[in-house]
């Protein structure tokens, strides 16, 4: 890998005007924050956040549904990330129910196997990176007392929607490395903007930025790969095939966004027995966002958290108003932690 010092020097050499790039990956934002990466960028080079955190973009109605399973006495298994996300009435963590943090869906299935007299519902969030793991597990036919609440989302439809809005004056996109591990990046070639697939070490991100600046300067718009040790153009076909064997795309709302066509994943009819919503007769309800929250603009890259009047006052990591203040990968939360306090 190239050293950080070389990359920083190259970027400083190269950047001669203002550039704004968007990443659409919470893990990119977390890495940027953790490594203090913004502090080493040349002036003028800005990274803004897109809708890349699967927890942030899970609408409140889906969290409320998860809480309904708790109420019904189910064991609810999920990733730790979802524990503290507030629904209309509290969070999974404060629900007092039997909520288990698991590493992945296979561990939730193990719980179901061990407690055959209890219903186990797995709250299944995640983008294309995660959905294939769910598909592989469902294909192995888990026991009858197991089901999932599918909150999956697909990245390209959201990116397309963003580009159609055309609000943010973006010079290009840092593509989500781990999504592309699975999907490859062929699908992104349809978008007429500079794009680079990047990994998650500071050096990976610096390299990605360097390649983006170069594309802009050279007037190109294509998809380049700065993460070749993990990503190839075709991705992981086996994983993608499994995903589409089990799921089909569906129109769905994103938190802070309207309904985006074909941007969600629903179990195909032959796997409906694992659909917790159908099994328990629960419907996802749309919940109106708090009026002052500009999360939608933040997630579209047209506003920064500090542009929000509620930021740091009414809306804090402890009393989150919008989704972006909720997740560890949420833009507002990360800004609250790393950018604002003393700078």
């Amino acid at each position: 890998m190239a050293t950080g010092d070389e990359l920083k020097a190259a970027l400083h050499d190269l950047v001669d005007r203002d550039y704004t790039f968007m990443h659409i990956c919470g893990t990119h934002e977390a890495a940027i924050a953790r490594t203090g990466l913004r502090s080493v960028l040349p002036e003028g080079l800005k990274i803004v956040m897109g809708p890349g955190c699967p927890v942030c973009i899970t609408p409140q109605g889906e969290i409320d549904a998860a809480l309904k399973f708790v109420e019904k006495g189910c064991i609810v298994a999920t990733y730790g990330d979802l524990l503290r996300v507030p629904g209309t009435k509290g969070s999974l963590e404060s629900s007092g129910g039997d909520v288990r943090v698991v590493q992945g869906i296979h561990k939730a299935v193990e719980i179901a196997e061990k407690t055959p007299d209890k219903e186990v519902v797995f709250i299944s969030v995640g983008f294309e990176t995660t959905a294939p793991t769910v598909a592989a597990t469902i294909l192995a036919r888990p026991p009858e007392n197991f089901s999932i609440l599918s909150c999956h989302r697909l990245v390209p439809p959201a990116m397309q929607w963003l580009l159609e809005q055309g609000e943010a004056s973006l010079d290009g996109f840092l593509l989500p490395g781990h999504v592309c591990v699975v999907t490859g990046y062929e699908e992104y070639e349809q978008f007429p903007v500079p794009q680079v697939v990047a990994g998650f070490e500071a050096e990976d991100i610096l390299l990605g930025l360097l390649m983006l600046v170069k594309q802009v300067k050279e007037g190109r718009h294509e998809v380049e790969n700065a993460y070749p040790r993990a990503v190839c153009r075709e991705g992981n076909r086996k994983a993608m095939d499994l995903m589409y064997e089990v799921f089909e795309p569906v129109d769905v709302e994103w938190r802070g966004f309207p309904v985006i066509p074909k941007s969600g994943l629903k179990l195909r009819p032959e796997f409906r027995q694992y659909d917790a919503l159908e099994k328990f007769g629960i419907e996802i309800k749309h919940v109106e966002k708090h009026s002052g929250c500009i999360c939608d603009q933040v997630l579209r890259g047209v506003a920064q958290p500090t542009d929000c009047k509620l930021f740091g006052k009414v809306c804090t990591p402890r009393t989150p108003v919008g989704p972006c203040m909720v997740s560890h990968e949420g833009a507002c939360k990360i800004w609250n932690l790393y950018h604002v306090r003393h700078l």
Partner: protein
């Protein structure tokens, strides 16, 4: 999104299960989504290997930088 970590496959078991080493830390993971051999590296996400990592490609990131930067020098 998606925390994923590289690991070396050190054992393969029945039922698409493998043991990986993240670095002084071993864990069983699912191999449903990849075809790998012992000694190869994978990227692990939510307890599943989601892709093989290519060592050669990994090493070539430095080359990639050199290429990119060299191209710019002109």
């Amino acid at each position: 999104m998606c925390v994923a970590v590289p690991a070396e496959v050190i054992e393969k078991k029945d039922g698409n299960i493998g043991v990986v080493d993240y670095g002084e830390l071993k864990q069983e993971v699912r191999l449903d989504l990849v075809d790998v051999e012992i000694g190869e590296f994978v990227l692990v996400h939510v307890g599943f290997a989601i892709q093989k990592l290519s060592r050669e490609e990994g090493l070539s990131t430095r080359e990639l930088f050199k290429e990119v930067y060299a191209a710019m020098e002109e």
